[in-house]
């Protein structure tokens, strides 16, 4: 996925001179290309004028990106770990998200803020999933691709969007090539076309059709859900797996249609259960599809704890295919 993201940035930077990158360690000679190598090589092609290494100043990175967007650029900024977004929260939630509104619609804030998420044995401050926090801020769009193809297409769309986009990338989906290999990382297969393509926001993807239950997931959990669906199929249970791809906007009609067909909903997320984005999905279904539901809506999510360090606990913390299978079995066999 690293390569797909890099290609998206490269294409957009070639296409539009106003696209610049801002972040820590993203363009240093002999450096990393950001914490996860996504920007590696881009400063060689575009120079330090467009690939700008910043001090460790997350609030300013977000604020400078916002200001630069107001001034006519299209900045793509990043934090090394999503957990650091809390440092930039004021600039993102109070400024970037609200400036268009506060101006009465006169301004646009075309910026992208990239953030790696997911637990990878780095403990409590380097492993959180934070989608729900930003989904809850009106004025921000939220993307969360599960594979390289989507990552490229969604990132290109994000760069061209006139609104601020928080773009979440899961550390275990970056791919297993290169020095940034993560233990437990997935090398997600799939062809990433070299030519240009865009994936619109707000279009969920049905990855696997099924009549018995609907599984809605994002990021790494899409893969765990697909794994669970395969296991369930062995028992004759056909789960439909939907990758939301973007949380704001969220493709409600695809989810509604699926639940109206299956009557069962399971939401899978790596974020903490209480107040995760899954709660919003459950709430919307409990409002709009109540008559179709014939079982409880189940969420498979991380428990309400910080991310623990020890792998044995982290494995318990991160939803597993087995837990998804159990949840699906419980709702399918309801009553």
């Amino acid at each position: 996925m690293v390569e797909a993201l890099r290609e998206a940035l490269r294409e957009e930077m070639r296409r539009d001179e106003r696209v610049i990158l801002l972040g820590e360690d993203i363009g240093v000679e002999g450096g990393f290309g950001g914490a996860f190598t996504v920007t590696l090589g881009l400063s060689e092609e575009f120079g330090h004028r467009r690939v700008i290494d910043t001090p460790i100043s997350e609030a300013a990175i977000a604020g400078v990106a916002t200001g630069a967007a107001l001034g006519g650029l299209r900045p793509v900024a990043d934090v090394q770990y999503g957990d650091f977004l809390f440092l930039a929260m004021d600039q993102l939630a109070n400024n970037a998200a609200k400036l268009r509104y506060m101006s009465g619609g006169k301004l646009t804030v075309p910026m992208v803020f990239r953030a790696p998420v997911g637990a990878t044995t780095r403990g409590a401050q380097h492993g959180q999933s934070l989608e729900a926090f930003f989904m809850h801020v009106p004025g921000l769009k939220v993307a969360c691709p599960s594979n390289p193809y989507d990552a490229k297409g969604l990132l290109k769309t994000a760069v061209r969007d006139d609104n601020p986009v928080i773009f979440f990338e899961h550390k275990l989906l970056y791919g297993s090539k290169g020095s940034r290999k993560e233990k437990g990382g997935l090398q997600v297969l799939g062809v990433v076309p070299e030519e240009e393509y865009l994936i619109p926001f707000g279009q969920a993807k049905v990855l696997r059709p099924g009549r018995d239950a609907t599984i809605v997931a994002n990021l790494l959990m899409v893969h765990k859900s697909m794994q669970a669906a395969t296991m369930l199929a062995d028992d004759g249970i056909e789960a439909e797996v939907i990758d939301v791809r973007t949380l704001v906007p969220l493709d409600w009609s695809t989810v509604f249609e699926s639940v109206e067909k299956t009557g069962k909903l399971i939401i899978v997320e790596e974020d903490n259960l209480t107040g995760g984005w899954g709660a919003e999905v459950a709430a919307r279904i409990a409002d709009s599809c109540i008559d179709y539901l014939d079982a409880p809506i189940r969420r498979v999510a991380a428990p309400d704890t910080p991310v623990p360090f020890a792998p044995v606990m982290e494995n318990f913390y991160v939803p597993s295919a087995e837990k998804i299978v159990a949840a699906v079995n419980a709702v399918v066999s309801w009553r």
Binding site: G63, V64, G67, L70, S103, T108, G139
Partner: protein
């Protein structure tokens, strides 16, 4: 008083080495001055006779304050009050003053570098090109603009008292010189950022008074279509981003906007307004540092009105001057009298020229005072009555009016005419605001995203 360095705003005259009547040669030690950084002898930058000492030994003089008068002959008279009232940059010759640009002033111990801790990076402001002589029209324009700011705030104050405006307000009476002096330097295409106390900034920048008033009336015709309110007024086309009401929040935005100017090779700059209280928040530190390391075209304008809401600056900051904080970022910092619009104008002109020349940001501290409370409901009991009274004497508008009258640039009759015209302008703005359409309730739902 000569400029003793970027971070030195005032000095104590230890003693005069010459007495009135004495002949002074160019380069001859004239007086000894002590600042919080150094003590040094200062030499005369020209020959002449020491006619009068304005600031005696033991007294403190701010930068840019005349401290003595040199004449060409022993008995020369030095003219009327206008000859030392105006600021040195506007005088022809004879005051020994604060302008470090006067080429003849030399420091005795030149090897000492007393200013920024990274002085080799500090580019000296190209003062000769950046201190244009203000024309009479410009002076009168600044005067009129300050009066407009004041009368707007007074009108708004009464509208609130009468219950005709919703929400809350943070008023800026007393701070007009900093707003107008700074914005008078700006060009079309330049940008300002502002705070929860933005009215004077908006008016100084030229945001239409009609659209401002309409915004305060929460009308669809307001500069933010009724969605922003007092704390978020702005108009990008007029060169002002929506004001950011969270202290310090506009500082990284200003840096970012300046980055876009630099990147797009636009010849523009950003003037970023904030109060002294904002210099204690993280976004100040991060934003100023980034602007410094990238030499961004921005001027950080700190209006030091001595109180963050009710909290006195001494309680929350150990340094005496906000401008001293510039040294932490390797940029010039200076403190100026924020109640003298011409002093502000000139200081801003230098800082703006630096920014436009690619030499990076300046931290410009303007000492001023808010004559009103922090917000609508604040009676300001945390300030001593004598302090408030002392600052009322230094009211920037009254002082400038007096000066312009004394200089003969403003006719007494014109004062009344200007006020009357503004009154009429405000009547009009209020009338149009009141007649303007309300937003529809469901307008609440639009403008969240650009489609």
């Amino acid at each position: 008083m000569p400029d003793l360095g970027q971070t030195v705003a005032e000095g104590k005259i230890v003693r005069w080495l010459k007495q009135p009547g004495d002949r002074v040669e160019k380069g001859e030690p004239l007086f000894e001055v002590e600042t919080d950084k150094v003590t040094m002898e200062v030499e005369a930058f020209r020959a002449g006779y020491l006619h009068e000492i304005l600031v005696g030994g033991g007294e403190i003089a701010g930068a840019a304050t005349p401290i003595a008068i040199l004449t060409d002959s022993p008995n020369e008279s030095h003219g009327g009050p206008s000859s030392h009232a105006p600021e040195p940059g506007f005088k022809k010759t004879s005051s020994v003053t604060a302008s470090g640009s006067v080429p003849g002033v030399q420091r005795k111990h030149a090897r000492r570098r007393t200013t920024s801790p990274a002085p080799e990076r500090v580019v000296a402001p190209p003062r000769s090109t950046t201190e244009p002589k203000l024309t009479t029209d410009q002076k009168l324009g600044m005067y009129r603009r300050m009066v407009l700011c004041r009368m707007f705030e007074e009108r708004v104050y009464y509208l609130f008292l009468e219950g005709r405006l919703p929400g809350t307000i943070h008023q800026s009476q007393g701070q007009e010189a900093s707003a107008v002096g700074v914005c008078s330097v700006l060009e079309p295409g330049d940008m300002i950022t502002s705070t929860h106390r933005p009215h004077s900034h908006a008016i100084a920048r030229g945001v239409s008074v009609t659209s401002l008033m309409a915004e305060l009336f929460a009308k669809a015709t307001g500069c933010c279509r009724g969605k922003g309110g007092s704390m978020h007024v702005g108009d990008r086309d007029a060169g002002m981003l929506p004001a950011i009401a969270i202290v310090g929040g506009g500082i990284p935005l200003a840096a970012g906007c300046a980055l876009s100017f630099q990147y797009l090779k636009q010849p523009n700059i950003v003037a970023c307004f904030f109060g002294e209280g904002a210099t204690n928040i993280g976004t100040f530190h991060e934003g100023v540092n980034i602007a410094a390391i990238w030499d961004l075209p921005v001027v950080f304008v700190c209006e030091n009105n001595r109180y963050a809401a009710s909290t006195a600056v001494e309680k929350v900051m150990k340094v005496r001057r906000v401008s001293e904080r510039a040294a932490a970022y390797g940029i010039p910092g200076e403190t100026q009298d924020g109640n003298d619009v011409e002093v502000v104008y000139r200081a801003m002109a230098r800082a703006a020229a630096r920014a436009r020349d690619g030499a990076g940001p300046t931290l410009l501290e303007l000492e001023t005072y808010r004559l009103a409370g922090h917000s609508r409901s604040d009676p300001g009991h945390y300030r001593a009555a004598e302090e408030v009274a002392g600052w009322k004497v230094r009211d920037p508008i009254a002082a400038y009016e007096t000066r312009l009258l004394a200089e003969g640039l403003l006719r007494p009759k014109a004062v009344a005419e200007i006020r009357s015209a503004i009154d009429h302008e405000l009547d009009e703005a209020v009338a149009r605001a009141e007649q303007g359409p309300e937003p529809r309730p469901e307008d609440c739902l639009s403008d969240v995203f650009s489609e």
